[in-house]
Amino acid sequence: MVNKGIKKLYTFLIFLFLYAPIIVLIVFSFNDSKSRGVWAGFTLKWYVELFKDAEILKALYNTFLIATLSTIISTILGTFAAIGIFNLPGLNKKIALNLNYLPVLNADIVTAVSLMALFRFLKMEFGFATMLLSHITFCTPYVVLSVLPKLKQMNKHLAEAAMDLGATPFYALRKVIIPEIMPGIITGGLMAFTLSIDDFVISFFNTGNGVSNLSIEIFSMTRRGINPVINALSTLMFVGMLIMLLIINKRTEKNELERGV
């Protein structure tokens, strides 16, 4: 009995630790004062102001546009790269794998500054394009890493069997290999998406006039205090994620029922 109580307490404390910051943030998004120090009554004004704030909405738009585009592109690039690397012979495979690890382990700031140097060297105008390219650059290795284990798990004779039965290599890729490694591709894509939304350092160094994302926008507020509008925005993003998660769970449940699992 005592044991069970301790278990419950432990779980509760862990979740409190994880969610306390978010709860505070949500509560203060309804605070009638600009200060985070005092509670001055309930208001919805920050939500109203959020939808009137063209700059923040534009930053939000840029954030999601770049996240979506870089996810789509890096997922495609990464998946094919993973299949290619997987089929390389011995030493070459090792070299390619390590070259893929390097950008993952490398510090963000090094990636950021070196990308900046590259774009300058190529005389590119800094802006949306350079930011998108840099996001694709740092997302792709993660996709490769999440697809590779799925390829390892796959029965390597599957594709051969398909081709024996008359499938062209491309048909076998589409109908056999890709569906087999789909969970890896989805994980990689999700990882790319969240990494892209999260990133500040690389975005900051590789964007130009007039193009900013949420992380840059929020960071630039630190001298004068984070505007509570950001609390409202973060609350909405959190609730959005929660709803998405619930829908996904519901759908997988339904699928499993239909397939009789």
Binding site: S33, K34, S35, R36, G37, V38, D53, A54, E55, L65, T68, L69, I72, M116, F119, R120, M124, E125, F126, G127, F128, T130, F204, T207, G208, N209, G210, V211, S212, I216, E217, F219, S220, M221, T222, R223, R224, G225, I226, N227
Partner: protein, 346 residues
């Protein structure tokens, strides 16, 4: 099959979206780069409507960030808002373009006392945007002594009741002024003495804070803090027990100014923007939103009474007589860095 179609559809929508957003606006444009949350955004909209110029607005958080962006090149900004010492540095390195004052007639609205300051001796490059002082904010319910000197921050009675700024120049300046030296001193011995003062003070200091100091003071967490006057106005509004003092030894007078980088692509547009920002009604709206002090007397008249008459935002000439403006330490900046590190190293 259905999911594939919907994915294709989403991709198509996105691509069209990107293309459409790229060529939606045919108006001429200017790129404005400002501090975060440092303008009333409705002002930008009004400027766009009135001059038919599109404003691409983005933000940074420190002078150093701005400097890196300008120095690195690759993107061009038309109007930026650096502080005093950074303007000195940028001018020296040829990063700024000279203003054509015929295009900025409203510069005459600016109070004469803010002209021809050391960092830009004949205002060839810059127009003041906001200004303020550094001082001590204290909680009247927690302090019985008279607060009129930096010395109070070294009073053992208030151990653990003091917040200092997590800012190298500002905190060193406090110690230098306490010792009666110039905060722009280039004398290594004076700097070493200031370092020792700050080391002695460290046990009394609760924390070295940035922007969080506002919430902490409003929440009554400590008796004293060193703050910028603009923030003090906001804090006093939230907690009337607080009071702001400019110590008698003097303090730092600071300016954020509008300048045009030498790489600007639309200099006329930039000058029109700067001119617009100096219009009294516009300057008043910005100052009201930000809470910092405007250098334009006619704008001050348009502000609500509590700010207009505020001794914090608009100290009398005598009160700011004893102030200095930061100079760029240029060649001895590494000494500053060393001293700042040593204060926290043992």
């Amino acid at each position: 099959m259905k999911t594939k179609k919907s994915i294709l559809f989403i991709a198509l929508v996105l691509i069209v979206g990107v293309i459409a957003s790229g060529c939606g606006d045919s108006r001429p444009s200017i790129n404005v780069y400002n501090w975060g949350d440092y303008i009333d955004k409705s002002v930008i909209k009004d400027f766009e409507d009135e001059f038919d110029i599109k404003v691409n607005y983005s933000m940074y958080s420190t002078n150093e960030d701005l400097y890196v962006k300008l120095k690195q090149g690759g993107s061009s900004y038309d109007v930026v808002f650096p502080s005093d010492y950074m303007i000195e540095k940028m001018t020296r390195e040829g990063l700024l373009a000279k203003l054509d004052k015929n295009n900025v007639p409203n510069i005459n609205n600016v109070d004469e006392k803010f002209f021809n300051l050391d960092f830009d001796p004949s205002n060839e490059y810059s127009v003041p945007y906001m200004w303020g002082t550094v001082g001590i904010i204290y909680n009247k319910t927690m302090v019985d002594d008279v607060v009129d000197s930096w010395d109070i921050l070294w009073n053992k009675k208030y151990e653990g009741q003091i917040f200092m700024l997590n800012s190298q120049r500002d905190t060193l300046a406090v110690a230098l002024l306490k010792l009666g030296y110039s905060m722009n001193t280039r004398d290594i011995n004076e700097l070493e003495e200031a370092k020792q003062e700050l080391i002695n003070q460290r046990p009394l200091v609760e924390a070295y804070l940035g922007d969080e100091v506002k919430d902490a003071m409003v929440g009554g967490e400590a008796a004293f803090a060193v703050v910028w006057s603009g923030d003090a106005v906001a804090m006093i509004r939230d907690n009337p027990d607080l009071e702001y003092v400019i110590p008698k030894e003097g303090t730092n007078l600071w300016f954020d100014n509008m300048v045009i980088p030498s790489t600007a692509k639309n200099k006329e547009g930039a000058e029109a923007f700067i001119n617009f920002m100096c219009r009294p009604d516009i300057a008043a709206r910005n100052s009201d939103y930000i809470g910092y002090s405007s250098p334009i007397p006619e704008a001050i008249e348009l502000l609500p009474d509590d700010i207009k008459n505020s001794k914090v935002a608009y100290p009398s000439d005598e009160e700011i007589e004893n102030t200095e403006i930061f100079k760029d330490p240029a060649d001895i900046i590494s000494e500053y860095d060393r001293i700042w590190t040593e204060i926290f190293s043992d």
